[in-house]
């Protein structure tokens, strides 16, 4: 099976201090560590597992500037056979809709049996590239996928619903499946794998190569135009307990005692 995996290079922000930049429309990116989007990591692993079981190839594709190569190299080290980067200054300001169009115009010229994406990206969280890509390609999709089985021209997938429930759904192939975390356990990359990946070629294409017009990408080709970003107003604010661990835990113990919890 030939599988295409769409991946995104995103900043890790869970533990980082976030500052709003001078435009007021984005966060300050310098100093942040970038890596493959968590959901895409599971998608790539799933693709490699399918390949290992039934043969075929895995191609990782990303839209982004040159520094996204580190994420593509990681994909190659993990078992992807080919990597493609779609880079053009005109792509700047693209939302998920514009990204899906860029991916579609590239992918429509490739041969594939299956496309995997992450269910969402941890930075902007739009949750829409996969199903839009499918619609533009004229094929089916399933999102929030936690399990995949193949059977005679269809994929049988478990989709995660709320509260731990899942639904089993059958989708005609080729299809786009958007992967939810926990579907597998992504492997660690071996040093050997990294070395080998460094030697592999990353194919780079721009706007002119994929046959889209300038107005279809970037901000003009997007649905969403960010006006401003800001720190969320707090529903309530915790009372901070300060001091040494000894002082802090003494205070916590007092609170628990006063509430009859110890």
């Amino acid at each position: 099976m030939d599988i295409i995996v769409c991946v995104k290079h995103v900043p890790e922000t869970a533990e980082a201090e976030i500052k709003i930049d001078a435009t007021g429309k984005a966060i300050e990116k310098t100093g942040l560590v970038f890596d493959i989007n968590e959901w895409d990591d599971y998608a790539l692993e799933e693709a490699v597992r399918i390949k290992e079981k039934s043969g075929g190839t895995v191609t990782a594709i990303t839209v982004g500037p040159e520094d996204t190569d580190s994420t593509l190299r990681k994909c190659l080290a993990r078992g992807a056979d080919k990597a493609m980067r779609l880079t053009d200054p005109k792509f700047q300001g693209s939302d998920s809709y514009a990204i899906a169009k860029i991916l579609q115009s590239t992918i429509k010229g490739l041969s594939f049996d299956l496309i995997l994406t992450g269910a969402l990206a941890g930075d902007d969280g739009y949750t829409m590239v996969g199903p839009i890509l499918a619609e533009l390609l004229g094929i089916q999709h399933a999102t929030m996928v936690k399990k995949i089985e193949f059977d005679d021209g269809v994929a049988k997938v478990n989709r995660e619903l709320e509260g731990g429930l899942e639904e089993k759904t059958e989708v005609k192939m080729p299809a786009v499946l958007s992967i939810q975390t926990g579907i597998n356990e992504p492997r660690y990359v071996s040093i050997m794998g990294i070395r080998k990946a460094m030697k592999k070629e990353i194919k780079v294409l721009g706007l002119a190569d994929i046959g889209l017009s300038e107005s279809e990408v970037g901000e003009t080709g997007s649905w969403i135009k960010v006006e401003k970003i800001f720190v969320p107003p707090a529903e309530k604010q915790a009372e901070f307990i300060k001091g040494s661990p000894e002082e802090v835990t003494t205070k916590i113990a007092e609170i628990l005692k006063s509430r009859g919890l110890i």
């Binding site: 902007d124 619609e135 619903l161 639904e167 089993k168 005609k172 649905w223 006006e227 113990a253």
Partner: protein, 324 residues
């Protein structure tokens, strides 16, 4: 006069909360934009649902068809495309749920209508839709304009709006199903329930919730001891289950359990919306996180900005000392 559509979401005989939350917000938007609020209900044998929903909207479009019995984005998309083309609603609201995210993006792309997902607030400025949503796991909010269109689609975050029952008795209008043949490319097979768990975290009075800040599986015994000292049970955020360190029945949040213990101690949990949804109604919440800007601190009663590896063992010792 145009209208605002709210797509009703229901599953296994139950109307889901998001439906009433959207109808409440939809009513407010309809009043402000001088449009009508219309609920759209697709299903099979769901007249009872239509009756319930008609108490929230002026009109209910009811489309019944055996092919709509369970959610199926292919069938839903066909029906909604037809209704949208015919009625040109100013806005269609769909839940940002597992059903909604399977449907809204492809529907929007097919109709070439702009879509904004996971909205926590919506307003019209003139004819332009302005939305608020979150980025970076809830660390920042974004205010954005949606590309100008005569019709918009949004998905709405769960629990972003409180449902209120208005004083309406709407009219149900049956619309015949446009689905002539079987959907051919996508087929619902069955629901799969989670395996019965060993622990019921919803019954515990004290929960120690651990998140990715715990770093390594080898640190689990330390937090287990704290939970034990407090007479409580370990619970966790999603990444801990994804890694296989705790079983699914311990997961708190939108895709896990909703808990309301007397005490919830969050250790190394950032406070992403999907987690918070499952624990914010706990009686007392104490959060330990080394990042003072972690969103969890706007849901906690008490916060400690420090390394959990210092606080958790010290707290365990303190409790044991007090218990003697």
């Amino acid at each position: 006069m145009t209208e605002i559509f709210v797509l009703a979401e229901h599953r296994q005989g139950q109307i889901r909360d998001i439906t009433f939350e959207m109808l409440t917000k939809g009513k407010e938007l309809a009043e402000k934009t001088n449009t009508d609020l219309t609920a759209v209900l697709l299903g099979k044998d769901v007249k009872e649902h239509a009756k319930t929903i008609s108490e929230y909207a002026k009109k209910v479009f009811l489309v019944e068809d055996a092919k709509l019995e369970n959610f199926n984005s292919e069938a839903y998309q066909k029906v909604l495309s037809n209704l949208t083309k015919e009625h040109k609603p100013l806005l269609t609201m769909i839940g940002h749920t597992s059903f909604g995210v399977d449907l809204a993006p492809s529907l929007a792309a097919a109709l070439k209508l702009p879509l904004a997902t996971d909205c926590i607030d919506l307003a019209f400025e003139g004819e332009t839709l302005v939305i608020t949503r979150q980025m970076y796991g809830g660390k920042v909010n974004v205010k954005a304009k949606v590309r100008k269109s005569e019709s918009y689609i949004v998905t709405v975050r769960q629990a972003a709006f409180a449902a209120q029952k208005p004083n309406i008795s709407g009219e149900t209008m049956e619309v015949s199903s446009p689905l002539t043949e079987e959907t051919t490319e996508k087929r619902f097979i069955e629901y799969v329930s989670p395996p019965p768990g060993g622990v019921d975290i919803t019954a515990a009075e004290v929960l120690v919730g651990i998140g990715r800040g715990i770093k390594d599986e080898s640190n689990m015994p330390m937090v287990e001891e704290l939970a034990k000292a407090l007479g409580g049970v370990l619970a966790c955020s999603r990444p801990i289950v994804d890694k296989g360190w705790l079983s699914t029945d311990r997961q708190v949040g939108s895709s896990g359990k909703t808990v309301k213990p007397k005490l919830y101690i969050a250790l190394g949990i950032s406070g992403a919306f999907q987690h918070v949804l499952g624990m914010k109604n706990s009686d007392l919440i104490i959060a330990v996180n080394k990042d003072s800007n972690a969103p969890i601190f706007s849901f906690a009663d008490y916060g400690v900005v420090d390394d959990l590896f210092k606080i958790a063992p010290a707290l365990k010792d303190k409790i044991q000392e007090l218990k003697g």
